[in-house]
């Protein structure tokens, strides 16, 4: 039944309204990061947009400027103190190293397992799949205390390598199941003809099948990167001197008050890479979130 013009307009209005509501927190967050402190903490009126935007918050968090320097520049003495701890350049570097490291490790290891689970027939294949899946459902808190002890014992506590391994563990089930679903999309006959031509399994994998699932692997890698980039609990427990972005942000909340300008500036910086990446993998997002079982 064709929709009338009024119905179409109403639907547009409703849809735009809903999307706008969901975009509001992000917009508000971004706006907060470029507002002067006085506008953020205004108790009398809500300042939606301040026409004197400032990049001071970014200069402190991303360029390592101290607050004292800022105060001297502007000639005011408002909020001087607490200097170096807001500089987040090292944090961004740490987060990037850990996210890239764990992505490479997860995809590398997961690729082999995914191919075997998709192509080879062996006893216990379903059991192995179920086991990998069950790892996804394990609450990380259940293993955190022993993992802290373990990493401490081998001197990997509070190192990039330690966190890379733990993030790889968390992401591996998703990566394996997701990449298996991409391998399943490639018809078996292609492998078989390569095998008949005399290729070994590994040659078939590397030279024939792998090039065909390149897109799927890229999407898996992007999702692994995002999961590691946004992970909070494990990073909080396993690190003290190395800080990933989500953990660092929470340290800006102090007993004497929260530095909302810096928090929102660093928060915005943490969101932007995620947004860019997610727009690249729109098509595979549903598949990734459902571990390969729903093909969006």
């Amino acid at each position: 039944m064709p929709a009338s013009a009024t119905q179409i307009v109403l639907r547009y209005i409703a849809a735009i309204l809903v999307v706008a509501i969901f975009m509001f927190p992000i917009a508000w967050w971004g706006l907060t990061s470029i507002k002067p402190i006085s506008a953020i903490f205004n108790k009398d009126t809500v300042v939606f947009f301040d026409f004197t935007p400032t990049l001071d918050n970014y200069r402190v968090t991303l360029l390592g400027k101290s607050r004292a320097e800022l105060a001297i520049e502007s000639g005011s003495t408002f909020g001087v103190g607490g200097a170096s701890s807001y500089d987040s350049r090292q944090t961004i570097l740490d987060s990037t190293i850990i996210a890239i490291g764990s992505t490479v490790l997860t995809v590398g290891i997961g690729l082999l397992a995914a191919y075997a689970l998709s192509r080879l027939t062996f006893r216990g294949r379903q059991t192995y799949l179920a086991w990998v899946l069950s790892q996804r459902f394990m609450p990380p808190i259940a293993i955190i205390v022993p993992v802290v002890f373990m990493l401490h014992y081998v001197d990997l506590r509070d190192t990039h390598v330690g966190l890379i391994f733990v993030h790889a563990l968390v992401n591996l089930p998703i990566a394996v199941l997701l990449m298996k679903s991409f391998f399943d999309d490639v018809p078996q006959e292609i492998d078989e003809s390569a095998l008949i031509d005399g290729a070994t399994r590994f040659q078939t994998f590397r030279l024939v099948v792998l090039p065909m699932v390149r897109g799927g692997i890229a999407s898996t890698a992007v999702l692994c990167f995002i999961f590691s980039w946004t992970e909070f609990l494990l990073s909080l427990f396993l690190t003290t001197s190395i800080r990933t972005l989500p953990v660092k942000i929470t340290t800006f909340v102090t007993s004497t008050g929260s530095e909302w300008g810096f928090i929102s500036a660093l928060g915005t910086s943490a969101i932007v890479p995620s947004f860019i990446f997610i727009l690249l993998v729109q098509k595979q997002l549903v598949r990734g979130l459902t571990l390969g079982s729903i093909k969006g």
Binding site: R11, W28, M150, T200, T230, F237
Partner: protein, 305 residues
């Protein structure tokens, strides 16, 4: 005709045992199995082992006492409180996110101009780091200058004397708001994928027979999507059950213990009391509850991956 094979297998100088060749699953699965065992299974067994010890508070030594933590955990009122908060949080969030997600998916399921863009925008909340989401809502719900709090005050829904996150009876709902904002898009995406994969014929037949859109939804869309809905609920439910980030960032289990979930309580025992065996015990209890609940769910709704 050229009959040269594409791959020429050179004769091996020595023969590897079969389980080391690429025909056997062993070399393929070895790296992932190693990672899962070393960082997954071993710590889990270690956690069980650890839960059998009692921590002596003064000497900080561990004394083997298998029953100690497990009797303590069931007698601990904070554990029961945490179980209650966790289930309440999970169930409320699931219902709201599922219903809202379904409605928004129905609304956005259109091929008209602009709807594709709106669907893309809806995915953005999903990838905001949860700790940052917690911060966003902490800012917006701030008792004195938060934009959302003020909106609620002006609408007469809240009173400035009882800031939402600092009042025991409402704090959990404040935390839920962040969860709902971040994860409703998850449901929207999955429902949209499900709706787009539905066959057209039954709907055409129903329209010819004079069924209304509402009837078509309840009699066709919902039953045909039941598998996908069950799967989405399972995945989201398991994640909700281990909720930690928002609670830690927004209220730190407070005020008092009003928003303390199981994971958060375990974290508190770990950080504040350094009672590692007891922290492990609470964490293991969380795992057991997840296993029981999810398996019952899988059995009832016959979820398949």
């Amino acid at each position: 005709m050229d009959t040269t094979p594409a791959f020429v297998r050179s004769a091996p100088r020595f023969a590897l045992p079969r389980f080391l060749t690429s025909e056997h699953p062993f070399p393929w699965l070895f790296p992932s199995t190693a990672l899962l065992v070393i960082f997954g299974i071993y710590p889990l067994l270690y956690a069980i082992y650890l839960s059998l010890f009692r921590r002596h508070p003064a000497t900080r030594t561990y004394i083997f006492d298998p029953a100690w933590n497990w009797t303590k955990v069931f007698a601990d009122e904070r554990v029961w409180g945490a179980i209650g908060h966790t289930f309440l949080y999970t169930i409320i969030a699931l219902i709201i996110e599922l219903v809202l997600g379904m409605l928004i998916a129905l609304l956005l399921d259109s091929d008209r101009r602009g709807f594709g863009l709106m669907r893309a925008l809806m995915t953005l909340p999903l990838v905001v780091p949860p700790a940052v989401t917690g911060m966003m809502f902490l800012l917006m719900l701030d008792g004195s200058f938060g934009v959302l709090s003020r909106g609620l005050y002006n609408a007469g829904l809240l009173s400035p004397q009882y800031p939402i996150l600092a009042t025991g009876s409402t704090a959990l709902f404040g935390v839920l708001l962040a969860d709902i904002w971040q994860w409703t898009p998850f449901m929207v995406l999955i429902m949209l994928a499900g709706m787009r994969a539905l066959p057209r014929e039954p709907f055409e037949a129903a329209a010819i027979d004079g069924a209304s859109a509402t009837q078509a939804f309840f009699k066709l869309t919902l039953p045909m999507m039941s598998k996908i809905i069950a799967l989405a609920v399972l995945i989201r439910g398991v994640d909700l059950f281990r909720i930690y980030d928002y609670v830690k960032v927004m209220t730190d289990s407070g005020p008092g213990t009003a928003t303390e979930t199981l994971t958060a309580y375990s974290g508190t025992v770990y950080f504040k009391n350094a009672d590692f065996p007891y922290a492990s015990t609470i964490a293991l209890l969380t795992l057991v509850l997840v296993l029981i609940t999810s398996n019952v769910f899988i059995k009832i709704f016959r979820v398949r991956f």
